[in-house]
């Protein structure tokens, strides 16, 4: 795990300083961040109201939980510590009218990927976004707290990233700087497969060129692990239906003894709901107690929505959701008689 660190101590100092400033200035009445759980020692969500308690906030690669899931439930103006993927979900919630951006103070943190239970999630291997697309405060990798508003984002995007890269386990050192990410424009993940000790998953086009039976097998292998506990749904900031279809009794979407068909119905439906909304934060994968990893399907849909409709979720606060809009000349590839 030490191979996957950056200058977290400096970032932590930055987060604490910003949290203290935000609370004492009254800009927000609540800061949501991470603390070290007193019993398990794991990083767990922290809700801080007193500026004196900001020192309890921690930050490191294990702060993997997606705090965007709380946004819809917070009634007051809250400042939330967010990685780029969390920020994208917040932007997405605002785009979908679920939260008011003005009630949220984003403490954006430059991210080089997270470690969940000693393992880098597949989602992080796919991700090339090192900086949050929107923020009120930016915690650079060197811990500097820049009180930059959205207006100064362009300037921030031109600024060099400092030590955010993780390559070969170097902590913000020369090797990391050499491999520095140049903002989301460069999609190549800095968190290399070698650094993570895991093979990078095949590209979607490669995957789609494999026989359907192989794809089926892959999907079925994941389904077989699933115990239908719905942890993925609970952890997902995009799954916010007040009552999930799987919890409704009027239609038997699932049977009393869950079987393959139920699991398939659940996962595929959830995915179809998340098309054009999933940002690939990996919360579902991390939350799963059974090790189900369907991030390749989410990624495939993200890529498809990007190719077909030119939409990437959570990057543009003024965007119209892809699945809530249409164009007269949308592609009909694969339709009978379509072009």
């Amino acid at each position: 795990m030490s191979a996957l660190t950056m200058d977290y101590a400096a970032q932590e100092r930055g987060i604490r300083a910003i949290a203290e400033r935000v609370l004492s200035s009254g800009e927000a009445s609540l800061v949501i961040g991470f603390r070290k759980h007193p019993v398990t020692g794991r990083r767990s969500p922290a809700f801080v109201r007193d500026p004196a308690n900001c020192a309890s906030l921690v930050w490191d690669a294990e702060c993997d939980f997606n705090l965007a899931v709380y946004l819809r439930d917070v009634a007051e103006k809250a400042a939330v510590v967010m990685k780029p993927c969390d920020v994208r979900l917040a932007v997405n919630l605002a785009v979908e009218g679920q939260i008011a951006r003005k009630n949220l103070v984003v403490i954006g943190v430059a991210c080089g990927g997270v470690v969940h239970e000693g393992r880098v999630p597949s989602a992080c291997l796919d991700c090339g976004v090192r900086f949050p697309p929107d923020y009120d405060y930016l915690v650079e990798a060197d811990g500097g707290d820049w009180p930059l508003g959205a207006a100064a984002r362009a300037e921030a995007s031109a600024s060099p990233a400092v030590g955010v890269a993780i390559a070969g386990g170097d902590i913000g050192g020369a090797a990391a700087r050499a491999a520095e990410d140049q903002r989301p424009a460069d999609p190549s993940p800095v968190l290399t497969a070698e650094a993570a000790g895991r093979a990078r998953p095949p590209s979607t086009s490669e995957f789609l060129s494999s026989p359907p039976a192989d794809r089926r097998q892959r999907f079925q292998a994941e389904l077989d692990k699933c115990i239908l506990c719905f942890a993925c749904r609970q952890a997902c900031a995009g799954c916010y239906c007040p009552t999930c279809f799987m919890d409704r009794g009027a239609v038997d979407w699932k049977t009393a003894v869950p079987n393959r068909g139920d699991k398939e119905t659940y996962h595929l439906t959830r995915m179809s709901h998340l098309a054009g909304r999933c940002v690939g934060c990996g919360a579902c994968e991390k939350a799963c107690p059974a090790g189900v990893d369907l991030s390749y399907l989410h990624r495939g849909l993200r890529e498809f929505v990007g190719e077909a409709y030119g939409y990437e979720a959570g990057l543009d606060p003024a965007a119209k959701p892809a699945m809530n809009s249409f164009s007269a000349d949308d592609p009909q590839t694969g339709f009978l008689g379509g072009k």
Partner: protein
């Protein structure tokens, strides 16, 4: 249309008896609970295709095919919906997970929607769903989307012929596997080309 439906259903029963899978939950010998992992079997090779047709165009197109006495394979079970935009992708997923061998969705041609834009939203939804199902290992031909207008009875029959042939070519094993049931060698000769008899 309803009379015609009944006729079609009767023909289908006559043609396919013994050649079609037990309906999910049917109390046939060895049948398990609906969609259960029990020892239910899928018999025969006649595909079961669920077709979602919009009320205003495609269903009327099917009606025209019927009143024009056009013949097409009897493998399609039609579900009428108000608009292709009303079709929740979940319906399609559920149909497949429950063992449908194929799903056909047809609505008004883009621009002709009775509700102006329903099929345009649906088009994106279906395109995404098709990609998702491909990623999940469904053969591309199992799920078909198309547009059939109320005046295209001939096209409707043609679409059904095409979809039936494609799904038939893929066979039934995938759908049976989805339900976790076994495929049994067909007991009675499968009415593979029922439609041909009438043509």
């Amino acid at each position: 249309m309803r009379d015609e439906d009944k006729g079609a259903a009767a023909r289908m029963e006559a043609c396919c008896s013994g050649g079609v899978a037990e309906a999910p939950g049917a109390a046939g010998p060895g049948a398990a609970a609906p969609g259960g992992d029990g020892p239910a079997v899928v018999r025969g090779s006649a595909p079961r295709i669920v077709a979602f047709l919009c009320n205003w165009c495609s269903y009327a197109g099917a009606d025209l095919a019927g009143t024009s006495r056009l013949q097409y394979p009897p493998h399609v079970r039609v579900i009428r919906v108000p608009c292709s935009g009303r079709i929740n992708p979940q319906y399609i997923i559920k149909a497949l997970a429950e063992g449908a061998d194929g799903v056909l969705v047809s609505g008004c041609h883009p621009g002709d929607c009775h509700y102006l834009t329903g099929n345009l939203y649906a088009r994106r939804r279906f395109a995404v769903l098709k990609r998702l199902l491909e990623l999940a290992g469904y053969e591309s031909d199992r799920v078909q989307f198309t547009w059939v207008s109320a005046s295209e009875g001939g096209r409707f029959a043609e679409v059904i012929r095409e979809v039936s042939a494609k799904v038939e070519a893929l066979g039934r094993a995938r759908a049976a596997e989805a339900r976790g049931v076994a495929v049994e060698a067909t007991a009675a000769p499968a009415p593979a080309s029922v439609a041909g008899a009438g043509l």
